[in-house]
Amino acid sequence: MTPELTEILKISLLVLLVVAAVASSVMKKLVPALIVFTSFSLVMSVIWMLLESPDLAITEAAVGAGVSGVLFYMALKRMERIKREYIEKDGKAAPENDGEEDGCDNNETKG
């Protein structure tokens, strides 16, 4: 890659980083905000590669985009800030069930 193209890539990644950071702070719905946060980590990992630090890139990808996103999701689920979404089956409303989660377990037949 030519040096100018690398420069353009770096600048666009940095802009994307700032946009992702601001967006994950002000978004209202939490699951999309979480996904944007994960993409922030992913962009950061690519930037570490462009800055020639592969150790940091591996760690950032594993920790930021992997484990950190999952743990955030678990925490939000535990605080019940992410509500369940029921998939209606045959036009019937989903039952008010306190232990079940997203209606995935009745999808055996669609598997």
Binding site: K28, A62, G66, V67, E101
Partner: protein
């Protein structure tokens, strides 16, 4: 005089100066409303919170501007700055020879500055202890927490996991063991391994991951890894400071069994990191192992 009366009343604890600590009222979240950002929510709240948000944004902007101003005057990335790089030149010139590691970053974090890495491992240990303290349910009867939906029947997750998990484990072990020869090391490899165990646990359920990581395993692995790091590095620090020769040699750079204690320490750190990640995940998911 009113002041004298007030003072006498205050002295005998009869004056109520209205200092009662209150819990804050919970904010009502209206998740069904169609707006995208929180600016719309702000409009509903009082002037107090609006002022708070405005001041917060101004402070962050000032801090960001100050930091940009600060680094704009410093040398650019990759530029040669003799004044600032004496330590770096030394590491690059003699790192491989003194530590035996081809990956100089591993040499720095586990030989030159091993005390900091010891501290960082203990930071992980402290974090998992705090999470255990907060979340672990010791009382079997107190399980009012919502139990998580069991995704083990989700066919997409199972099929994908079956293909990917072996690759993740092999890659993680490779990164861990080759820390002194190629990029990676204890923290990276441990994080990858931890992510792999988390994926195994969420795809195949507790029975599958419980086969090789239980609470007992967690305790034994964490404790022995940290103790090994403490004792091993104390030996090195003690002999180094007192000028005694150590018997741990550096080997030939490039061999898998070289670089002194770096390989065992990478393994120890990696195990601590993997167990920490998995432990925190289990605590969040089910509040017990």
């Amino acid at each position: 005089m009113k002041l004298k009366d007030d003072f006498k009343k205050w002295l005998s604890y009869d004056l109520d100066l209205d200092e009662e600590p209150t819990m804050p009222e919970p904010i009502e979240f209206d998740d069904e409303a169609p707006e995208i950002t929180i600016w719309h929510r702000l409009r509903q709240q009082g002037a107090h919170r609006k002022l708070y948000y405005v001041v917060a944004v101004i402070c962050s902007a000032v801090l960001a501007f100050t930091l940009i101003l600060t680094v704009s005057g410093m040398p650019r990335y990759g530029e040669d700055a003799e004044f600032m790089d004496t330590v770096t030149y030394e590491y690059l010139a003699h790192g491989m020879e003194y530590t035996g590691a081809v990956n100089i970053v591993s040499g720095i974090i586990l030989e030159y500055r091993a005390f900091d890495t010891l501290g960082e491992s203990f930071v992980l240990f402290c974090a998992v202890t705090c999470v255990l303290v907060l979340l672990r349910l010791d009382d079997e009867a107190d399980s009012s927490a919502p139990s998580y939906h069991d995704l083990t029947h989700d066919i997409v997750l199972r099929r994908t996991a079956r293909a990917i998990i072996p690759l993740i484990f092999v890659f993680g072990i490779y990164v861990l063991l080759n820390g002194h020869l190629s990029p990676g090391g204890g923290f990276s490899g441990g994080a990858v391994l931890g992510a792999g165990i988390i994926l195994l646990s969420s795809a195949y359920g507790e029975e599958a991951s419980g086969k090789f990581v239980t609470e007992r395993t967690f305790r034994i692995v964490t404790t022995s890894a940290l103790l090994f790091y403490c004792v091993g590095k104390s030996y090195t620090f003690y002999t180094g400071a007192n000028g005694i020769e150590t018997f741990i040699g550096n080997g030939r750079p490039g061999d898998i069994l070289s670089a002194g204690l770096i390989l065992p320490l990478n393994v120890a750190v990696g195990l601590v990191v993997a167990c920490t990640m998995y432990g925190i995940y289990r605590m969040f998911k089910e509040r017990r192992f």
